[in-house]
Every structure is written in structure tokens, then in C-alpha cells.
Amino acid sequence: MAENSTRYSQTKKGNEKDSPRNSSKYFHLRFIVPGDVQELAAIRDRVEKQSASMNLSDEEAYQIVSAVDETCTNIIKHAYQGKEGNIEISLKVDSERFEIEVADKGIYFDPTLNIPQEIDQEKIGRQKGGLGLFIIKKTMDDLNYRFTMSGENKLHLVKYFRSE
């Protein structure tokens, strides 16, 4: 991803004790990328790097990366529908949870309305769609959508850390 296509900011807080998930590793990172499928790999890399800094298991980190990738893919397909537009991704971590907010200015698209209640493996391949949201729902702890006054779709995802 070209750096000039991305706005990026990060803040850290807390002390410098070197233990897993201590406050020195809390962060709030926000970045904006073009809504383009060619950006997905770079988005996943960035989210994976942030997850790695939190001593999450590979499996937990993969679930977070997957949730962001599926969300961005849905935005590109359904909210922007091939038109140009940006995606703003916010990652916020504290001692209890990994929070993700993904925002776009495409057409109104509430992904939570399209989540299958269950999966029929015999039909998924032909149905196309819905599988990504099902994965997000099953692997993240909270999933909320809102359409803002300024016309943004915002999907908020939370994964709580398992107690150590």
C-alpha cells in the first residue's frame, strides 16, 4: 500500500512494564485506506502486526484479521459497489478487549441484517454471501452496526481477551 494513500495515527498510554497485555501495550490506531480489493492484504498485515503486539494466540489474531478482511470486502462490494471511496479502520485495545470499528461513506448497508442463523454446507457454495458475516458473528464477541447522522456505515466489533 502506498503510504501516501493512507492517513495514520497511533497513540499509546501506560507504563513500560514488560509483561503480556500490560498497559504499555494498549493502543488506539486509526487509519484510512481506499476501498479497493488490492488494499486488503496491506490491511490484514497492519491488523496482524497490531494483534501480534498483544500476545494473542495465532488463532485469536487470525479471527480478528479475518473479521476486518470480511468487513472491508463487504464494504467494497455492497456499500461502494465498485465506486471509489475510503474505509476508516479504528483498532482500540485495552486490558480486556480488542475493539474494531470500520466506517465507510457508501450507500446504507447494514450487514447485521444478512447474517445466516445457521450454515447448511450443502447450500453455501451456491448461495454465495453471508458466510463471512456468519464467521464474524461466531468468532467475535460483539457485533453492532449503526448508520450515523453524517451518513456513515459503522460496524463495531469486539473480541474480549480470555482470562489468563
Binding site: 480489493v37 486488503l40 488463532e59 478482511d69 470480511e70 450443502e122 453455501i124 457454495g125 456468519f134 468468532t139
Partner: protein, 115 residues
């Protein structure tokens, strides 16, 4: 280096082993779809998908695996998974894929499972 390599290898027992290297997302899903369906359309029905070097697979690609599995079943074959990366196990689990696909950790067992 390409971000997705799909390397088919036909062994002497008539089992097609397809190694997927890299990632599958919305940027290269069309290539993945085409190459996977070509394998089945070429008449192969005993298929092993080696995922040992797969970094990421999105939900659309997982749907394609189900399609291929069904197509292979119709030809009295199967699609079986070899070396599912540990980080992807939960995803397979929530989708019920662990019960749906036969999954192996070594190539010999996977090949000989096709009796």
C-alpha cells in the same frame, strides 16, 4: 512473487494434490475459483488440498471449497484437506467444516484414505 500459487500434482494413485500457497481474498478469488473448478472439470474427483502454506482464506473461497467438494462427490470422489493451519481451525470449526471435510496431517494418510 505472486500472492497466490496453485500447484496441482497428480500422483500414481490417481489422486490430485493441489497445493495452495499464499492467500485467497477478494483480489484473487476469481483466479482461485477458475483454477479449482478446472481441476474438477478435467475429470479429477479424488482431490487433496494441501493448505500447509496458506496464509489466509476468505469466506468466498471457503464457499468454493464446498462447491468443489459437492462436484467431486457427484463423481464418486471427494475433496480432502491436508495440513490445515492451526490458526484456521476455529474458522473451520464454527462452519462445521471439521465434520464436513476429512482433514489429514500427513500426505500419505490423505492419499491412502482414497481406497
Amino acid at each position: 512473487m505472486e500472492n497466490l500459487e496453485i500447484i496441482p500434482k497428480l500422483n500414481d494413485r490417481g489422486v490430485l494434490i493441489i497445493k495452495v500457497i499464499g492467500f485467497v481474498d477478494a483480489s484473487n478469488i476469481t483466479l482461485f475459483d477458475r483454477r479449482m473448478h478446472e481441476a474438477v472439470e478435467n475429470g479429477y474427483s479424488k482431490i487433496i488440498l494441501d493448505l500447509s502454506e496458506l496464509q489466509y482464506i476468505n469466506s468466498s473461497a471457503l464457499g468454493i471449497l464446498l462447491d468443489i467438494h459437492l462436484s467431486a462427490n457427484k463423481r464418486k470422489g471427494d475433496l480432502r484437506i491436508l495440513n490445515l493451519p492451526r490458526k484456521m481451525q476455529k474458522t473451520f470449526d464454527v462452519l462445521g467444516f471439521n465434520d464436513y471435510f476429512q482433514i489429514f496431517n500427513d500426505e500419505k494418510s490423505a492419499v491412502y484414505s482414497f481406497s
